[in-house]
């Protein structure tokens, strides 16, 4: 159980850190403006588009990873223990 917890926490914090950095680079119009969740700017280069794709991927990686390790896997374990 503790192993699953630290895997989920690692995904949440590590993925969240990278997501925060990319969001700070690309979707933060200004310090006194919307931060981290601003509009995706137009006319990004190839690197920018790749970073935006990576940001979206990290977002879902965090959601699905945390769900998997904190909810699904423990639930399956409980079910298997209950059935045996």
């Amino acid at each position: 159980m503790a192993d699953e917890f630290i895997k989920g926490l690692g995904i949440l914090t590590g993925g969240g850190l990278l997501w925060m950095v990319l969001s700070g680079w690309y979707t933060t119009p200004g310090f006194e403006d919307t931060q981290l969740v601003g509009e995706i700017p137009e006319g990004l280069g190839a690197y920018g588009e790749a970073a935006i794709a990576l940001r979206a991927g990290l977002f879902w990686f965090i959601i699905l990873g945390v769900l998997t390790f904190w909810v699904l896997i423990p639930a399956f374990k409980q079910l298997r223990e209950a059935s045996t």
Binding site: M20, V21, G24, W25, G30, F31
Partner: protein, 260 residues
């Protein structure tokens, strides 16, 4: 086993643990009838929680090959030092990483000739700033012909002295022997109301900014009512949890074993 009864250690005291160092349940362990009394509601839930953690700890001790020693800690070098260096490296690396990837915003230089519309201290001093806004509590004394004894600003500064003084006195009133809030519900609820008051007085300090969200007079009343309500609720909850919490058993169980 009969052998265990006859064994003694150096001090001549009877050794009943079979040389394993595992302390068996003693007469403070509740009987089955005592356990069955806690059959409903929050006290039952609390009881099950603590009983389960106690049982897990007992099982872990029984199946472990750990030999209890006279040493109560690890040496500074290398054990503690290696751990501290790795923690320090992690946080220094995190600071370097964040300052390299997300450098802080540098605003325009401050203009000393104009006063900003909103003046606020840093957020962690809002509570102190809020204490300066306690003017309505400053009594107008009849003996002074309706005059106030202090100016409102003096009153606010004295309120800081009262709050800091109370925080300084608390450790002398309660020595902190409780390991967890359920052991001393009163002092835990004092702490809860203090934390809630720190929050509400902080909100009061920005009352002119959030006046369209909440009426300032209502906010002023809530500032002092909410801590009392939160303290009373937490006292009631902890007091009802205490029924299911075997205070003496857990106090004995978690006490640090002194060196021989």
């Amino acid at each position: 086993m009969a052998d265990d009864q006859s064994q003694t250690d150096e001090s001549g005291e009877a050794q009943t643990d079979g040389g394993t160092g595992i302390v068996p349940p003693d007469d403070e362990t509740p009987t089955w009838s005592e356990r069955k009394e806690r059959r409903q509601g929050l006290s039952r839930l609390t009881y099950e929680y603590f009983e389960r953690s106690r049982r897990e700890d007992q099982d872990l001790r029984q199946e472990s090959s750990y030999v209890e020693r006279d040493v109560l800690a690890f040496p500074t070098w290398p054990h503690e030092m290696i751990r501290n260096l790795s923690l320090t490296s992690f946080f220094v690396g995190m600071i370097v990483f964040l300052s390299a990837t997300l450098p802080p915003h540098l605003g325009p230089p401050a203009d000393p000739s104009s006063t900003p519309a909103i003046i606020l201290p840093d957020w962690y001093l809002y509570w102190s700033f809020g204490l300066l806004k306690l003017g309505p509590l400053n009594p107008e004394l009849a003996i002074l012909g309706g005059e106030k004894l202090f100016a409102d600003r003096t009153y606010g500064v004295l309120a800081n002295v009262v709050v800091v003084g109370f925080i300084a006195i608390v450790p002398f009133l309660n020595k902190g022997s409780a390991r967890r809030p359920v052991e001393q519900p009163f002092w835990a609820s004092v702490g809860v109301s203090g934390v809630v008051f720190a929050f509400t007085i902080s909100v009061l300090s920005v009352k002119n900014i959030i006046s369209d969200l909440i009426d300032p007079h209502l906010l002023f009343d809530l500032t002092f009512l909410l801590p009392i309500v939160a303290g009373a609720v937490s006292y009631a909850v902890l007091k009802s949890m205490q029924e299911g919490y075997m205070y003496d058993l857990n106090r004995r169980y978690y006490r640090l074993r002194p060196p021989k």
